[in-house]
Amino acid sequence: MKFFSTLGSYFIMLKGMFTKPENFKMYWKELMHQCVEIGIGSLGIVSIISVFMGAVSAAQTAYQITNPLIPKTTLSQVVRDTVILEFAPTLVCIVLAGVVGSKIAGELGNMRSTEQIDALEIMGINTKSYLVAPKILAALITIPLLVILAMFLGIWGGRLASVATNIVSADTYDRGLVSGFVAKNVWFALVKAYTFAFIISSIPAFYGYNVKGGALEIGRASTTAVVSSCVLILFADYLLAAILL
């Protein structure tokens, strides 16, 4: 019963975002601010994770390819497809659920407990559209871009590791990359990125926006938000794979 009540409140919050902005310029400023916070703020961690996941993927694939009959270009093909299909969208988004999700839940939770949200409401501002909508929109703009960046960096990380450890030559790796490339995989990855971006931003926003209490409850809300987002990402990952592939 509680699940349905929470789900209902979540949809009511989403519905509440769609109102005419009191001042478009202020909303735009907030959107840009959130783009910087979510996008630029996550650039470092996304870059590091992407390079290493590509490198690890290359090393592990090389370890498993023992048959001399398998062409060496297979290594980069496997790295490319794993990174594009799974690592870049899913792994990066699970990390972002922690980084961005806890930040959104913490920020809104703090604003709720210190009555900043009430202050905005009393001024006549729709806080759902002023505080929540820009965060979701910013996530929808920046997270797919981060995923695209993660794809490039992941593949580049695989190349770096392969060449540095003499698993394959740079030329062989590059030839493998262009062989058997399926463009649909990129679109599939982007569909996943948009879906996960919505989950990463809206679930923590919901938990943060509805915090009741003080510091302890804010901490709990952040944890619940991150855990729920991660579970939902994995669930959506399977669902999308089953439907779209």
Binding site: M26, Q116, D118, A119, E121, I122, M123, G124
Partner: protein, 286 residues
Amino acid sequence: MIELKNIHKGFGDKQILKGVSAVMETGKTNLIIGTSGSGKTVLQKCMVGLFEVDSGEISYDGRDFSSMPEDERKLLRQQIGMLFQGSALFDSMTVERNVKFPLDMFTDWDHKKKIDRVNEVLDRVNLTGANKKYPAEVSGGMKKRVGIARAIVLNPKYLFCDEPNSGLDPQTSMVIDLLIKEITREYNMTTVINTHDMNSVMEIGENILYMYEGEREWVGNNKEIIFSKNDKLNEFIFASEFLRDAKDMRMLEEKGIIDNDRNMDDVMRDPEANLLMGDNDKRVVN
């Protein structure tokens, strides 16, 4: 003027407000007082629309707020300023940006005009030069003053203050109280203050509503409160012996029974003094 008619509000099975009716007068500091859990915060939140009433009517100068469509409410809310217990300043913004925020959101003034207005209200609350400080860098009293500046920057018709003195020392509390009272007169606002600070009650209580267990128990002003025979009110306001003595003294002063020249023994023998204080209150002159 804000008029409350038979306000009921409950959460689940618990009824918090049980038919509260009152009038908050324009140009006066209207105080809502009561013990913790008496329903004063819920009443104030109903008045500003943070809670919806279960039944009853809240009207702002004749406009029924409780049944107002959301668009109309939004417009009315732009005429409401509110000072929160914890000031509710936006942490990431400087004092100047905090005060400028309502202007940015609701006016199309140019930057210079906005800054001039911000400086004007900051001067009014004696915070000249604090523009570039962040909320974390200012004291509790200063935060309250920034909160007041933000609340009045749009020239509101109604000002709500939730526990404006909480966490402040008595001297700073008095400064904040007097500032609110002065601003109320100056802007001819309807000011509603939620408090259980007795200094505020005695200093700025021009219209006092005492709430007890969700009901209106007593209404009056800071002069009348001295002579009130309401036991619940007296127990709440004059809770300590010191305050009870102070009440007796003030009562005798108001009636002209004691002054600097009169001997306290004479006062004790005065039948009018005995009648006023009752047997239990004779300790003040003993």
